[in-house]
Amino acid sequence: MAQVPVQTIHRDPQLFYWILFPITIVMILTGILRHYATVLMSSAPKPLDLRSTREQRSLLHGISLRSNFHTLSPRSFHTRRDTIITAYESGAYLKDPERKGQPPANPMTDPSSMDGMMGMMKNQMAMIIPNTLIMSWINAFFSGYVIMKLPFPLTIKFKSMLQAGVGTKDMDPRWMSSISWYFLCMFGLQSVFNFLLGNDNAASQMAQQMGQMGPQAPQMFGPGADPNKQFLTEAENLAVIEHHSVLDGVEQRLLEGIRV
């Protein structure tokens, strides 16, 4: 088996100073800028009016009763459950009880839900705009340079991705151009931001995208959710609970715990 000779390319050391470092520094600074822009742009949530607060809190009351029922005695649990279920089913906690059976309003026309949409829009913009700008900047200035060699071999499939704009047929796919260094920075700088800005930073777009891709938690109080339906579901959940207390059989456990 013939040994494939290792390709060596003599590169100008100036490539590092004029391509590699500018891209890296710009990426880091953009991340920091994005973090502070997100911090500045995030608006405090608007205070809700009394009736919608009551609607949300009473639903939360039911949920916490359902998850913590084991700390209550049977009698007090049953009293609470009866009260809550009756109120849920009659719609006593609803924001406007007369609109009970109707479908929820269109979220686009509801002015109170526009705020949430605007916040999401702002986040998206803060992610997309710098990315497009940097991409086009790199493409305009640095396309076609081979700057680095990856320390691990890759298959030929990666060639079109790593060597975009180089167009040399026989080159080893380990050589990478400036645009692929940009991608590498995008993925790998998370730890640098962690170190610089603390843990819950908004600098990295990767973490946010991961969060979006993950299983979407059903929005509790988001626009478009029908509170009446949520109440009825919760009432059903409460009704099927078979009550038991943590104190059931506590004497047995205590006696087992004592070693003579």
Partner: protein
């Protein structure tokens, strides 16, 4: 009747904030050290598999060091009760399952490792 596991959790509940705090502390440390390993691998000029072995080895060393320096000493000062000691040793005081503790670090810092590895590999052998 509830299952045994549920009952255990209800009798001795867990603190969610502490769980988050512990795993975040570990995550921060690992992503920082992964970049450091990248620097080392780049300086040594490791290629392909040996580089990844280097990363694997040193991540394990990191977790071992955390175990030896941060977790094990606390067990002596606050002698754990017989029940916890029987169940999973000192580790169960701070982490839910030992498996998470030993393996979570491998994926946390891989991207940072590759970044600094490539950078220093390129810088040293220019």
């Amino acid at each position: 009747m509830p299952s045994q596991q549920e009952l255990d959790l209800q009798i001795s509940p867990l603190v969610q904030e502490s769980l988050v705090h512990n795993s975040r502390t570990l995550h921060n440390l690992q992503s920082l050290t992964a970049s450091l390993f990248g620097v080392g691998a780049g300086i040594l000029g490791l290629e392909s598999y040996s580089g990844f072995f280097f990363y694997l080895l040193f991540s394990l060393v990191t977790t071992l060091l955390v175990y030896a320096l941060r977790i094990a000493p606390t067990s002596i000062s606050s002698s754990p009760s017989a029940a916890t000691a029987a169940k999973g040793g000192v580790l169960s005081r701070y982490f839910r399952s030992p498996f998470d503790f030993w393996t979570a670090g491998l994926t946390n810092g891989l991207a940072g490792f590759i970044l600094t590895w490539t950078l220093f590999y390129g810088l040293v052998r220019a």
